[in-house]
């Protein structure tokens, strides 16, 4: 019998060493588009917590704030309480469907342009070029011995990495507390330990994932490329090397010597040199391609220099590729983008958004939850009436103090009072003052005549007394002793 060692095969190494990727500088429409996206996304990430938004004296004035300690989520004029978390769920669903939409229309555009991993990797690669020089200089430096120059350049580069990483981690915590206060506390050592811990963890992950892991995250770690391949179809735009036009490859000189024998690709390797994930797009669609389109810029540049038409590498659908291969002309981009599937995704996306906006506009900011005290269920009063006790939780979700009325319906002869009052002062309707943006707990005593069913449902309702009469109600049980008791 073979020993277990024999089953693993002779010399296959368990791990593969990372091949260095040193993307070359490139310019073009897609590169400029990436610059713009990078600027916008980084500005949103770093800047949002510093936007102020006046909500009056009873609520924070930070436009976007996830207040975990007080369990509130503020986003401009919208305030979300924990029990309204379904709005956040709705946003996540919209984000998901938005990704379906983008993927079915333009493939892995999220990966190529907007994913934080891509944006930060791009940023770090610019730092590489700034410190070490362009591709060739980077390769020379990486392969060269540890001279003083290499050491100092590496030190400077890693310091810049660390600064960016620290700034990234530092910006994250600003979403969870008042940014100016937290910044002051952070630098004076008075912030919560969790703040320092979060910054430390995010600094470390940014430093490692953006500075060193880079395309390995996309290729080995991220589930999204796998999911996306299931969502793309033959009508999705992909970065495509048009092999029917480019092959066989040959230099300009060879092509001049043998007219007609060679395709448009002159095998200059520029598309490989600029690729941030280090792949060769001419090998066809592959999981390593994040469709950042920098190879399109590089190839168009070369085609321009040698006087051949642009678009040897271009966004193209699988359908169009077949058509073009057969000599036809592909559909215009407009028709590719607007088709049943993308429109359906867009429709669902809009419907969820509209439903959420409608519901946000309709929601009342006064909520009532009633709990029936069960020990005892009912109390026999001396005048023959029966009293039941309830705990009311009145949620005033507006950032102002309010006065509300509490009434009952469907319980004849009912009289209400709270701990502050007494049976002598009991009324049909009581008024309660609610603190701004908080839950007020009130013990409500309800007395009703003793002759009635042993169990009876009735309604406890609350409504605003200060202009906004909308409110909430709850159906709850009133208990009396069973007959004969």
């Amino acid at each position: 019998m073979a020993s277990p060692d024999d089953l693993t095969g002779p010399a296959a190494p368990l791990y593969e060493k990372r091949k260095g990727v040193y993307p070359k500088k490139v310019d073009g429409p897609f590169r400029r588009f990436k610059w713009a996206i990078m600027g916008i996304t980084l500005a949103i990430y770093y800047g949002t917590p510093w936007i102020r938004w006046d909500r009056g004296p009873y609520a924070p004035d930070q436009a976007v704030l996830v207040d975990l300690a007080n369990r509130r989520f503020y986003m401009f004029q919208i305030e979300i309480w924990p029990h309204e978390f379904y709005y956040v769920a709705g946003l996540l669903i919209m984000a998901g469907i938005g990704l379906f939409l983008v993927t079915s229309a333009v493939g892995r555009a999220w990966c190529g342009y907007a994913c934080p991993q891509t944006v930060w990797t791009d940023l770090f690669q610019h730092v590489d070029r700034l410190v070490d020089g362009d591709r060739n200089a980077q390769v020379r430096l990486a392969n060269g011995p540890w001279t003083f120059e290499k050491t100092s350049k590496r030190t400077i580069k890693y310091l810049i990495y660390l600064t960016i990483a620290f700034w990234t981690g530092g910006a994250w915590i600003m979403y969870f507390a008042d940014a100016p206060t937290l910044t002051a506390d952070f630098w004076t050592g008075q912030a919560a330990p969790i703040a320092y811990g979060t910054v430390a963890v995010l600094t470390a992950t940014t430093f490692i994932l953006g500075g060193f892991m880079r395309e390995q995250v996309c290729i080995y770690m991220c589930p999204w490329p796998r999911i996306q391949t299931a969502m793309m179809d033959e009508k999705s735009l992909l970065v495509t090397y048009k092999d029917w036009r480019g092959e066989p490859r040959g230099s300009v000189k060879k092509a001049q010597a043998h007219p007609g024998a060679f395709g448009d690709c002159i095998d200059c390797n520029q598309c490989v040199a600029v690729c941030p994930t280090g792949i060769d797009i001419r090998e066809g669609p592959q999981i390593g391609c994040i469709t950042c389109a920098l190879c399109i810029d590089a190839c168009d540049d070369v085609m321009g220099q040698i006087g051949r038409p642009r678009g040897l590498i271009d966004y193209c659908t699988l359908d169009d590729a077949a058509v073009e291969k057969a000599g036809g002309i592909g559909k215009p981009v407009r028709k590719t983008l607007f088709r049943l599937r993308t429109l359906a995704y867009f429709g669902v996306w809009c419907a969820i958004g509209a439903a959420m906006l409608f519901s946000l506009g309709q929601r009342t900011r006064l909520d009532l939850a009633v709990q029936h005290e069960r020990s005892p269920l009912y109390v026999q009063l001396s005048d023959g009436h029966i009293r039941n006790n309830y705990t009311l939780k009145l949620r005033n979700m507006e950032t102002r103090p309010r006065r509300v009325a509490v009434t009952v319906d469907g319980l004849s002869g009912a009289a209400l009072w709270t701990e502050a009052g007494s049976r002598e002062t009991a009324k049909q309707r009581i008024e309660i003052a609610l603190a701004p943006d908080s839950v007020t707990r009130v013990r409500l005593f309800v007395a009703a005549p003793g002759d009635g069913p042993a169990r009876q449902d009735f309604t406890i309702a609350t409504r605003g007394l200060d202009g906004d009469p909308r409110g909430d109600s709850d159906i709850i049980q009133f208990d009396r002793p069973e007959a004969g008791q």
């Binding site: 005892p376 109390v379 026999q380 009063l381 001396s382 005048d383 009293r387 006790n389 007494s422």
Partner: protein
């Protein structure tokens, strides 16, 4: 057995010499790190025996030079907890009981503290939430009080208890056993029961009730009042309302008149500290039947014969 020791070919290790159906045991030497851990454990154990309670003796175990005990641990934790609570407890102690309702935060703390103490000391009889037990222990949630439902009266009742024979200041009153002691015969008791059921609105007036009314004035009115309104200074219940501690039906009333229960409640002043008694009073007061204190009067009229509120 031991002579069957042999060197195992595959491992090069000696066997221990035992063999069961061809299965042998290798005598693999223990790793050195294991031995060192074992020696370290022995040293550690020697130190432990000296420092901590270890050897069981006839009456107790050796104490250990550190003087540690789990009881002491608990004491320290309780001490720390009491210190944490001290500010609020002191504030409650420094505030007069009748002033507490005007301070909602302090009152709330007192009610919660009272609720905790109630669950330990009171629920055995009065039930969870003070609901009482039918025909045994009174409900504390209703608006019918034997001895008074304002804060001071409740506190006094808790502190001094009811019918504690060994305590002078206790709440005390005695309803005679009209049936057992032969004060009234069965027919007379039935008449009194009719009268009581008439004044409490459970029966229509009748000849029996009219006879009972005369007996009531002669035997019962001294405590329960001419109209049956009761008298809190002697803990005589109101007989005209719908709340009956021992039942308001004919059988129950007959039994009560024939042989009253004269229920007993322990006094708590010597078992609980004054703050806890105070907090218990606020909790019972908050259960729904709490009454505002009667306005102060010049004489002792508002108090019982022996100065009880």
């Amino acid at each position: 057995m031991a002579d069957r020791k042999r060197i195992d070919e595959a491992t090069g290790t000696s066997t221990v010499g035992h063999e069961w159906d061809g299965i042998e045991e290798l005598d693999t030497p223990m790793p050195r790190w294991w031995l060192w851990t074992f020696y370290a454990s022995i040293v550690w154990a020697a130190g432990y025996v000296v420092l901590y309670p270890a050897w069981p003796m006839l009456n107790s175990a050796t104490q250990g030079v550190l003087g540690w005990s789990s009881r002491g641990d608990l004491e320290r934790e309780m001490q720390a907890h009491a210190e944490r609570r001290a500010p609020i407890t002191n504030a409650i102690a420094a505030t007069a009981l009748t002033d507490l309702p005007a301070k909602p935060e302090l009152m709330q703390a007192a009610v919660q503290g009272g609720a905790a103490a109630f669950r330990v000391h009171c629920v055995q009889c009065h039930g969870a939430g003070g609901a009482g037990v039918k025909k045994l222990y009174p409900s504390l949630t209703d608006d019918d009080w034997l001895w008074g439902g304002d804060l001071a009266s409740i506190e006094y009742t808790i502190a001094h208890g009811i019918r504690n024979p060994d305590h002078k200041a206790t709440r005390v009153s005695q309803m005679p056993a009209f049936g057992r002691d032969g004060i009234l015969d069965a027919g007379q008791i039935a008449d009194v029961v009719s009268h009581v059921r008439v004044i409490s609105g459970q029966e229509k007036p009748s000849a029996a009730a009219a006879r009972g009314a005369v007996l009531f004035q002669a035997n019962c009115a001294v405590c329960h009042g001419a109209t049956g309104a009761g008298d809190r200074t002697v803990g005589a219940p109101k007989l005209t309302d719908a709340v009956w501690l021992y039942g308001g039906d004919r059988d129950s009333l007959t039994a009560t008149i024939a042989q009253p229960r004269n229920g007993v409640m322990p006094r708590w002043a010597h078992r609980l500290d004054p703050v806890t008694v105070k907090m218990l009073a606020t909790y019972v007061y908050s259960l729904g039947g709490g009454e505002k204190a009667a306005p102060p009067v010049a004489s002792n009229e508002g108090q019982g014969a022996d100065g009880q509120p």
